[in-house]
Symmetry: C2
Amino acid sequence: MQNGLVISLDGMGGDHAPQIVIEGAHLSRQKYPQATFIIFGDENKIKPLIKKYPGLEAVVELRHTAERITSEDKPSIALRNGRNSSMRLAIDAVAKGEAQCVVSAGNTGALMAMAKFVLKVLPGITRPAIATALPTKVPGHGAVMLDLGANVECDPKNLLEFAILGGVFSREILKIAEPRIGILNIGSESMKGHEVVKEAAELLEKASHLPGKYIGFVEGDDIGAGTVDVVVTDGFTGNIVLKTIEGTAKLMASLVKQSFQSSWLMKIGFILCLPGFVVALPAFIALKKRADPSSYNGASFIGLKGLCIKSHGGTNAVGFANAIGVAADMALIQFNEKIAQELERMGIGQTQPETVEDTAA
Amino acid sequence: MQNGLVISLDGMGGDHAPQIVIEGAHLSRQKYPQATFIIFGDENKIKPLIKKYPGLEAVVELRHTAERITSEDKPSIALRNGRNSSMRLAIDAVAKGEAQCVVSAGNTGALMAMAKFVLKVLPGITRPAIATALPTKVPGHGAVMLDLGANVECDPKNLLEFAILGGVFSREILKIAEPRIGILNIGSESMKGHEVVKEAAELLEKASHLPGKYIGFVEGDDIGAGTVDVVVTDGFTGNIVLKTIEGTAKLMASLVKQSFQSSWLMKIGFILCLPGFVVALPAFIALKKRADPSSYNGASFIGLKGLCIKSHGGTNAVGFANAIGVAADMALIQFNEKIAQELERMGIGQTQPETVEDTAA
């Protein structure tokens, strides 16, 4: 492990790269002044951007590559032909020990395939998962959900491993001392759901030394209610649920906006409210920050020997800076060492991981 | 088919029954003045309630039963032992042709098991589904999603049938002339997802005379965006997605409320806004109505020979009235006759339904 904090960045991944990557790195320095960056990508595009932000050049090592993975590339093709892409080289830097973590806003499937191939799965874990923190009604109390799409089909043992990985994430990143772990299902009664969730429930009930407390099945409305801290699910359901949360939040915001625009009375009311809005501005900003999706940007690929964070492809610089923050936090608390300790405590750790071919999403 | 509109009500189903059932029936008469009701349940409790609402007694036939299905009853037990329950008798009234539709806020699993057993599946349909309309960003333009929990595991043919049922629902109930039908998945590319959705996509691409246009895979955030009219999914995913939508809407409302309560500045700002709020009140009420879950209450069990509507168990009287409205609308447009015409047009209708034992959820 190096001194300090070195973060590897895929300079060319995402809809608005490289702009958001460079600006995001700049923004993240406020919270992580000790951070230095290795950035991979087209130096003709990236170099001028770096110069725009005072002091950034001194903490960035720019490594040129003209190749990049696009959002259309199939994971298998990206893995085979993308050896010199900015994404692959950014991951390689973690495998070589040059950086403690990598952040990319590029193609999720390609990133997961490359990260699995290059970084390998942790001993005791069969498959890595994608995890992210979500807001809940309880202030300052986030929930973590996994898997969000790395594993379309899961067996009960996969779900048990997700519970362990998520429990450590909740404790170490979200600072919840005794995380409540639940399996996402269509009802809380034990007879509900399909065989995989029923068998996973049995495994979790029997498991000793879990990093948290297994509380049984939870439902979709428990996620935001703050009644569960670790939401365990397969990647098909998890991905759809995550996008449903995003879509519903957008819908609600849109309904409010439409109602303000819909009538003259509402417009006059809005103008009359302006002095009140100005007085309350700081509280509104706090609300916006709490409800803003970019505040929750940064999905962690967990269960791998290196730290890899996926930023939303369409994010802005603030969102990318948040993803860098997730990576930095995980590196600083030595997340993978914590996972290894947990697996040892549970007596797990000798299992052979599946081969990369089997697990490629 | 009777003259007029006769609606059968399970007087004892739901957390706040019989109050919400009786008040809901009363409220629904504003929109459906021609409606009459057969209400099943405990006459000692229901009779005094009916007398509270002017004119209601004249349009209600109250049939006494002391038995009821509780929310804890297993569907199989309810089916075997609940022959004299208010829920079962309310369904029987539809099977006997005494009413055109039945509404219950009781135990979903028991209601589906009984409805399948008593009403039977429509010719050409293998399994009934639970469907509901959801709000979208586009004013006046709802989306229908199915299945919401009747079928935990589905094969591709089930999903094709859901597409047909949902297409007719969208056209006849939501008044969308050419519904866009999509399969819920983790990405829009054809390589995404598990085998069932991939094979269902092939079936839908090949299907001729669909009641709508198949647009491919859709994602969780398409539901609220108004980019799809019929969201086809298995009952496991659909149920979790529905509850996630409810939970996220509650979370958003809670975040706004908390921010108003969180600071003195926000409270002062709120007071300064009051004149504006008063002016804009009608628009706020319209917004609340549009965003209020009870405006969307009433999930239809479709694919059965009789019309059966499930109200949310925890709903209020307004929500129950809305569920009655869904039932009334489906009865008035003769929904099942429309389904039969559609199946005939597609050349489907000779398939033998599965036996009740196989399909009990």
